[in-house]
Symmetry: C2
Subunit: 418 residues, 2 copies
């Protein structure tokens, strides 16, 4: 029986979420006896709720293929969390109405922890309402905090970007330190887990190389110990480069920097801790600083994507379709690490119930005893994830990315207010 | 007659100043009948004043060649401005003493406006003191503000970086705008001239593409006009990406953001205007923002260097040596544009007296009438400067850069306090 598939992107986008989309769309074509059209949600799940569906079959296959090297979310993403079935029952029922109206038999949802929870609930409501829909999650998050899977597509490219950036800035600061900037701080993402902060550490391959200090969200900030380490580092090497997580906490558990707002998931909007740290050093030591806030640059830097990451992102999209047509409901493809060196990986499968809303923390054993660096074990884990380059095509000196036409499917249902 | 050459790097370093160093060192070897050793100043001119000279002949030629793809300043740079001959006469005389002690007949100084002034004065004091030294400046500055030369090595790579970054962030924000971030602000360098801000504009090739608004240091900030434009842009495209210069001025001529410090040249240390702009939009419209501060990342991003820029940086280093051995005193090689499309350039020569302390402003005709964008004329000027890629080698997923041994020459003179 041929049925349509629904695909949507959720939460913060990455440099490679479109590679997963590419994997979904190109693989779906291999199953004409199972999958009709792939309809994409415009702006994620909101597109499904509002019946704003994009007919991906109208896109040029060349453009679909170019998604592999295009950052951002080609169909639009959203920060909109479907809550429990009791609280948001109307929304879940609406989803099923839309699926029924468009003969959607496969629900492919590309996101992080919250999204895997939504995919699980959609599979449950489908069963409750007697509407058969196969729900498969596709992992994506720069935060690398999904459980079971060895890593999350999106993370490896951010990791490569921050490690490259702090290495390059380190070469700069080392040149200037004699008479000018001695302190450089790079603030990176990673709200609750220090995976991205840890990745900065890959840049330092020998003693004295940048970064010299990492400040993890897992290690409450100890001001005096930090300042001693800064002074020692400048004394020994002439300068000090610091990578700091946006989620750094004071000892009392308060976030060091809150921009004040909260996002749709109720998370505090962070940013600015880099300046707090830099200014602290300046106030206490008088040393001149510079600081950088990579912000979205780090997660959209497709020009510096990890080849491993791109391949894994494509693979989980491909696998999701294969799982769906094999009628594997409420599952998510995972990355399974077979060996560190040489790095080998394969695709596995996790149950959504084991993934939904579970956050993978960084092991304490990945952080050095003093709390300011990464261990060899951490380096072994991270190193393969940034391996290889996968440069996009360039035109006129800039990466050449695709924009799809995103033509809507005609609506069949009454308007629904979310 | 064979004499030694002195080479030093000055001021803020760039992604390609070492390519100029490479051009100097590799070319000097072609003139064994004129140039003995090239001695580099450790940390720029300070190395000369302190007689802290690096013997570059002890480096492996493979490492010297790797300078072509290594960011930062390989011998160290400094922010130390030699003032007039009357104020800093002892320093100038000390330079001549050091040159005499090490048989230095060529002074090659790689920097911006201030450095060209120093090179000029060294040539004057040499004549006054009867010590023959040929002084040649080598242009370098991300600010692109040296006169006569069509562009300054270092600028093209920053231009490529900021245009790439705001394009990539634009793809990200466009995906998120429906329910989350609608405003993105990228703060870029360029203290007095909007060259780097203008380069952001290269990313927008069609209507509606990021960046949508540029805020130049040349155009005093008009809050109401800006907010109207932001609202129009979000209304039309759903989101708004803004590139803003660190040197943006209020209408009263005050800098919008001063970090408070001043550097060794007496310039205010800038940074944070991006957040001021973003917060203004949030306060007045309620729209969620993200902002990024590229800071040193933009000028050290050798991984994304412009091929044109790398070639020109090497060429001016090479030319400086050729001018020196031809006894051309008090000059600087320049980039001469022969044609825009196809882009053709050649090396010219300027007198240091015409370059020293003169700042090239961006023509008003390069900024659109409304003050928020670039003109076609500006695009024609900028486009060739970011053309081509020149990727560094990668090892273990990261750009592989060189560190020289930097072995000191023995001192022959008493200590000198600067």
């Amino acid at each position: 029986m041929v049925r349509n598939a629904f695909y949507a992107q959720s939460g913060g986008v990455t440099a490679v979420i479109n590679a997963s989309a590419c994997g979904v769309l190109e693989t779906a074509k291999n199953y004409p006896d199972k999958i009709g059209k792939v309809l994409a949600g415009r702006n994620g799940i909101i597109g499904a709720l509002e019946e704003d569906l994009i007919d991906t079959s109208l896109e040029n296959p060349v453009d679909i293929h170019a998604l592999r090297h295009t950052p951002g979310g080609a169909f639009g993403s959203c920060r909109y969390k479907l809550k429990g079935l009791d609280q948001h029952r109307a929304q879940y029922e609406r989803l099923i109405d839309v699926f029924r109206a468009h003969d959607i038999g496969y629900f492919l949802y590309n996101g992080g922890n919250d999204s895997m929870d939504t995919a699980l609930k959609v599979s449950q409501i489908g069963q409750q309402l007697g509407y058969p829909v196969v729900c498969v999650g596709i992992p994506k998050t720069v935060d690398n905090d999904l459980p079971i899977t060895d890593t999350c597509p999106g993370f490896g490219s951010v990791a490569k970007y921050v490690a490259t950036s702090i290495r390059e800035a380190g070469y700069d600061v080392a040149s200037m330190a004699k008479t000018s900037t001695k302190i450089f701080v790079l603030e990176v993402m990673g709200r609750h887990a220090g995976w991205i902060t840890a990745a900065c550490g890959l840049a330092a391959e020998s003693a004295g190389e940048a970064p010299h200090i990492l400040l993890f969200p897992e290690i409450p900030f100890d001001e005096e110990k930090f300042l001693v380490r800064v002074s020692e580092t400048v004394g020994r090497h002439g300068y000090c480069c610091i990578g700091v997580s946006e989620g750094l906490l004071y000892k009392d558990g308060n976030l060091m920097a809150e921009a004040g707002g909260k996002d749709a998931f109720g998370h505090a909007q962070l940013g600015g801790v880099g300046q707090v740290i830099a200014q602290l050093v300046k106030d206490r030591t008088g040393m001149k600083y510079h600081w950088a806030l990579a912000d979205y640059l780090q997660r959209s830097a497709r020009h510096l994507a990890s080849k491993t990451d791109v391949e894994q992102a494509y693979a989980v999209g491909k696998s999701a379709v294969e799982l769906a047509v094999a009628d594997r409901n409420a599952v998510m493809p995972t990355i399974v690490r077979v060996s560190d060196a040489p790095y080998r990986w394969e695709i596995g499968v996790a149950e959504l119930k084991d993934v939904a809303n579970v956050e993978k923390k960084m092991p304490r054993a990945f952080i050095s005893a003093d709390g300011f660096g990464i261990t060899e074990e951490c380096r072994r884990y991270l190193a393969p994830l940034i391996a290889g380059e996968d440069f996009p095509p360039y035109r006129d000196g800039l990466p050449h990315y695709v924009r799809l036409q995103n033509i809507s499917v005609g609506k069949k249902l009454p308007v629904f207010s979310i």
